[in-house]
Structures are given as structure tokens and as C-alpha cells.
């Protein structure tokens, strides 16, 4: 009874708050030479004077934010076709743009629309991709991101991540030492913020399930740590670990059935465990008296990377999921922690102490060479985009945590500034799975 009651008090639905939540603002600091492209304003056929969402603007902003493209201003355009058949390739090759996107939105029902777009190469005078996507008012933005993803993939050969999401934690000062912690999910461009949980006690370490339908996280409600898994659509959550001492650092297995977690026990010796989500059975992987924590599953599901200070300072180790002796992976520098694998399995991101500054570094697992990607003093929580091509992490700006993304080669870095308190622990979602 009591347990049920406290649960009901803690779980609140925050939908009402979200409209008021200030969204993240994004500044791009591109350093590569961006390719000029033309995104022609989309046409509109429907009952209202204007279309529900400026599709061209969403696509433009996605491509610009990638740092790889610079959309030309609308004023420079010699024609503004909305149908591929009306594109005059000469008009576009004069402008030197390497790609032209045209399209339109047609209303087909009360809340039903059809988004149509075509991408052309004006030099070869060919359509590169054309697609029609059904949408409602609520899914219109997602449909525009999907269009941007297809355009991006056609032009770069890299799968776009504009349709993905990020989860992160915010802490707002409430006077004195009081804080309000929130767990937020938003589109990867900072739009559509949705608060999925809030608490006066710390929230930590969000982690996406591989189907991106659930988040695991650590909550300190009641002044003790426990691990929850929350369904994003329903808002229902269940407690999967509530043992004495540390319950921390959850990360899903590639099949989504297990979590690697850190448990400390009464004696407070943090070790790596594998927790079966359904049965709640745990299997201990490490037994060292050092701090072993921050487990991360390799994409092949066979190894777990983790942080351990068994050698003195924190370094990254790797252990088989069936146990055995861990093997040390990082040797460069005195502090390497919080390993995260790129989804393609080739690279390892970490927090690395670079001459007194905590920065995000990426190591090629085969070659073992380390590349420092960030430039802050106190950067943390790196997380790869699902295309392995960029990362998101938290840095500090005048005392508060803000989010940045950086391309995996370090060339394009961009800031996502939030008006709301201290933003930390961003985690990038897997690719969305569309209904077939």
C-alpha cells in the first residue's frame, strides 16, 4: 500500500509544462568549407492561407546545422518552382549551387497532408531523390526531418540524423541548495522538448533502449539511488534496481533485454553487473575493490567497456560479457573515463584529461590513436549519433552546463544553448523505426 502510494505521488505527467519550456537555441561554429545548396520555398495547397509548418525552413536549418551545407538566400533565386518538372537547370548552375530541393505540401484531409519533395543535381540535370511522405499536423516536423535525412544521405553518403532525438537532464536552482531536476527528450535540433520526469532529488545517467521506446535512468528520490526504466509513450516506469548503496550507470544491451549497471552494495565497492530487465536477476562481472563503473556495451553485444581506477587513476577496460579478466584499453593520459562506443563499433569516446582540462576524446579501437574533439575545461558525457559521424556532449558556459555537438573528425562543432538552468548528460537516440 505504502509503496504504491509513494509511487503515485512521484510519477506525475508533465505535459502541461512542456509548452512553456524554453527550447534549446543552436549556434553553429562550422570550420569546414560548406557546399552551397538551394532549398526553394515549398508550395502549399490547402484550406488555410499558409501551410502548418515552413518545410523548406526546417530542411534548410537541418542542412545548415550539419556544417556541411550553406543554403543560399531566397533573394538570390532566379526561379522558385514547386514541382520538379518546372526546374530550369541553367538558372541554378549559374548560381553555382550543387543541389536544388523543390517541393510542396498538399492538404488531403482535415488533419492529413502530403509532403512531396525532389532533389536535383543541376549540373548533371538529374533527380537524385524524390519522395512523398504522408503527415498530420503533429508529424509534419518529423516528416520534414525525414526529407532532410534523405537529402543529406544522397549528397554525403552518410545517413542523416535529423529525425533522431536526444535525452538530457536539466537542473534548475530553486533557491539555496534546492534544485529541480528534469529529464527531457527533444528533437536533435532542440525542438519539441518534452519533460518525461522531474524530481527535487538528482536524476542521472539517462540511456536509450535500442528501439528508442524506453529510457533507463538513475533517480535519487528518497535520498537513495535506484534505476528505473520508463516507457516514453505511456510515461509508465518500473524500478529495476533498488539495492543498498550505489545503483548506477545503466546502459542497454544491443538486444534491449539487459542493462549493464553499477552496483555498490553495503560495503560500497562499485562493480559492473549485468541485469536481466524481465527477471531482475543480476550477474556480477567484476570483483575488484577499485571503482568499476560506467559500463557500455559494444555493438556486437560480446564485450563491455567500463571505467576502473584499479591502476590508480581512472582508465578504460574491456571485459567479455561472460566474465574473465578485464583488458586495459586506454593508456594515454592519467584520466580516461565514461566510455561510449560508436554504433559502427570502430571508435571509443571518453572523457579525457588533457593537460588539466576534461575534454571529449575519441580513440580508434584498432589503431589506438586518440583525438581530442572538444575545447572546454569541464566537458563530459559524450554520446555518439546513431550514424557514428558526430557526438553530443555537455560543456560549461559561464557556470552552466550547455550541450555541444561535434563531428567525429573534430572539424564541425556547434553549441545548443538552453535558457533553462544547467543542462547535462545528453544521450543521442538510435535511429527511429518507421512503421512499415
Amino acid at each position: 500500500m505504502l509503496k504504491k502510494l509513494s509511487f503515485a505521488i512521484i510519477v506525475i505527467v508533465f505535459a502541461a509544462n512542456n509548452a512553456a519550456a524554453q527550447k534549446l537555441r543552436i549556434d553553429v561554429q562550422g570550420v569546414a568549407q560548406p557546399t552551397p545548396v538551394a532549398i526553394v520555398p515549398f508550395g502549399w495547397e490547402g484550406n488555410s492561407p499558409a501551410m502548418p509548418l515552413d518545410i523548406a525552413e526546417v530542411i534548410k536549418s537541418d542542412l545548415r546545422r550539419s556544417g556541411r551545407f550553406s543554403p543560399i538566400p531566397e533573394n538570390d533565386m532566379l526561379q522558385k518552382p514547386t514541382d520538379g518538372a518546372d526546374v530550369d537547370f541553367g538558372d541554378w548552375s549559374i548560381l553555382g549551387v550543387e543541389a536544388v530541393v523543390v517541393g510542396k505540401v498538399t492538404q488531403v484531409g482535415v488533419n492529413a497532408y502530403s509532403l512531396r519533395f525532389q532533389l536535383f543535381d543541376p549540373f548533371r540535370q538529374r533527380q537524385l531523390v524524390g519522395y512523398q511522405i504522408p503527415a498530420s499536423r503533429g508529424t509534419m516536423r518529423g516528416a520534414a526531418h525525414r526529407a532532410a535525412d534523405m537529402i543529406y544521405e544522397k549528397l554525403t553518403g552518410i545517413k542523416g540524423v535529423f529525425g533522431t532525438k536526444v535525452a538530457y537532464v536539466t537542473a534548475e536552482q530553486q533557491g539555496g541548495r534546492e534544485r529541480l531536476y528534469s529529464l527531457i527528450v527533444s528533437d536533435q535540433d532542440g525542438e519539441n522538448e518534452f519533460k518525461i520526469m522531474e524530481s527535487k532529488d538528482p536524476i542521472m545517467s539517462p540511456a536509450w533502449s535500442p528501439d528508442s521506446r524506453q529510457l533507463a535512468y538513475v533517480s535519487f528520490e528518497g535520498s537513495r539511488s535506484s534505476i528505473f526504466v520508463q516507457n516514453l509513450r505511456s510515461g509508465n516506469r518500473f524500478q529495476v534496481s533498488n539495492k543498498p548503496g550505489i545503483n548506477g550507470a545503466p546502459a542497454f544491451s544491443p538486444d534491449g533485454r539487459k542493462l549493464v549497471v553499477t552496483l555498490g552494495g553495503v560495503e560500497g565497492n562499485p562493480d559492473i553487473y549485468i541485469l536481466d530487465i524481465t527477471s531482475r536477476q543480476v550477474k556480477r562481472l567484476t570483483t575488484h575493490r577499485a571503482i568499476d563503473t560506467e559500463g557500455a556495451w559494444a555493438p556486437d553485444g560480446r564485450h563491455i567497456y567500463f571505467t576502473s581506477d584499479r591502476s590508480g587513476g581512472p582508465q578504460i577496460y574491456r571485459i567479455s560479457v561472460s566474465g574473465g579478466t578485464p583488458e586495459r584499453v586506454t593508456f594515454e593520459g592519467s584520466y580516461n573515463a565514461r566510455p561510449r562506443l560508436s554504433p559502427d563499433g570502430t571508435r571509443l569516446a571518453m572523457v579525457h584529461n588533457d593537460r588539466g582540462n576534461y575534454r571529449i576524446a575519441v580513440m580508434n579501437i584498432e589503431r589506438k590513436d586518440l583525438l581530442v574533439l572538444s575545447a572546454g575545461r569541464q566537458d563530459e558525457s559524450p554520446s555518439f549519433a546513431p550514424n557514428s559521424d558526430s557526438l553530443i556532449y555537455a560543456t560549461r558556459q559561464s557556470g552552466d552546463g550547455v550541450l555541444e555537438t561535434v563531428s567525429a573528425d573534430g572539424l564541425i562543432r556547434q553549441k545548443m544553448a538552453s535558457g533553462q538552468g544547467d543542462v547535462r548528460e545528453p544521450v543521442w537516440s538510435p535511429f527511429p523505426r518507421f512503421a512499415k
Binding site: S225, T262, G264, E267, G268, E294, T307, V351, R377, E380
Partner: protein, 171 residues
């Protein structure tokens, strides 16, 4: 289930109603003993007169409850060992009381690793209490890592204030 609910409401009601009706007099720590030197003489009745006897002080009131640590260290400083010992004595004398040791780290580095560092500090204090006879069941530990800083800044002195264990009394 409804019985529990009624019971809970009744208990809550009793507590709420009981609170203002039974004020607890503050003990006066500076003048604890009735010295009987008043000019007027009165006849006392043993066992009834509230003026006699010795007030009991809050056993934990005078003791500090925060222990600070050096950078990258979980060793209780020599200067704080007496404080921990004093808490051990109090806990031994009042075996019905218990404490929660809340370990903290400064903000540098990785968050979950800092949870480990905070726990290590809480465990150092726990071990010291247990060596001095406090039973395991009287002690709980929790690490907040860098999540609940005391000082909000990022200077060395802020970091020093944040590397700490707070001793909190639980019932």
C-alpha cells in the same frame, strides 16, 4: 486496503491534532540544574515538580556534521578523526539512532565515476565508525557524486567545500 487507508488517515489526523496541543519545552543548556537558592521557600512534592532535575541536551547538537577531504582522496584528515570518534561515541550510547553518510565529490571529471569517489569517502567514515563499535545496521551510505554541490562555483575553494561527507541522522 481501505482499512489501511482509514488507519493512515486516523494516524495522520492524530498527529496533526496532537502537534499544537503538546508543546515540548526547550531544555536550557546553560542553566540546567535547579539550585534551590530562591528566597521564598516552598514545599516540594517529589516526583511531580517539573523544576527539579537535569535537562538532557540534544546529544548531536554540538558536533559538526560535515567532514572534508583532499583532492582525489578518501582519507579522513587527522583533524577530523576526533569528530568521527565523537559521533561513534554518540551512536554507541544511543544504539536506537542511525545515520546516513552522504558522500560528495567536486565537479571535475565524469559523473558516475564521481559517484564512486563520493561513495568511497562515505565508506571511509563508515569504516571508522564501525572500528569504534558502531553497528552496521546503524549506518547507511549514499553517494551523490557531484550532483549536490555545497558551493556552486568552480574555484579550488569551492571544490574543497564540495569534497565532503555529510552525516545525517535518521530515525
Amino acid at each position: 486496503m481501505s482499512y489501511y487507508k482509514i488507519f493512515a488517515v486516523a494516524v495522520l489526523g492524530a498527529l496533526l491534532a496532537g502537534c499544537p496541543a503538546t508543546p515540548v519545552p526547550d531544555p536550557e543548556p546553560t542553566d540546567t540544574t535547579y539550585d534551590g537558592s530562591d528566597s521564598a521557600s516552598t514545599d516540594g512534592m517529589d516526583g511531580f515538580d517539573g523544576q527539579g532535575g537535569t535537562a538532557i541536551e540534544d546529544p548531536f547538537e554540538q558536533l559538526g556534521t560535515v567532514i572534508y577531504f583532499d583532492f582525489d582522496s578518501s582519507e579522513v584528515r587527522a583533524a577530523d578523526q576526533d569528530l568521527v570518534a565523537a559521533h561513534a561515541i554518540q551512536l554507541n550510547e544511543n544504539s536506537y539512532t542511525s545515520v546516513r553518510l552522504e558522500g560528495h565529490a567536486d565537479e571535475r571529471g565524469s559523473r558516475e565515476y564521481n559517484i564512486g569517489l563520493g561513495e568511497r569517502r562515505a565508506q571511509a567514515v563508515r569504516q571508522m565508525l564501525m572500528i569504534q563499535g558502531v553497528t552496521a545496521s546503524q549506518i547507511q551510505t549514499v553517494s551523490f557524486g557531484e550532483e549536490r554541490p555545497d558551493a556552486m562555483g568552480s574555484s579550488e575553494s569551492d571544490y574543497a567545500r564540495n569534497r565532503r561527507v555529510e552525516i545525517r541522522f535518521t530515525d
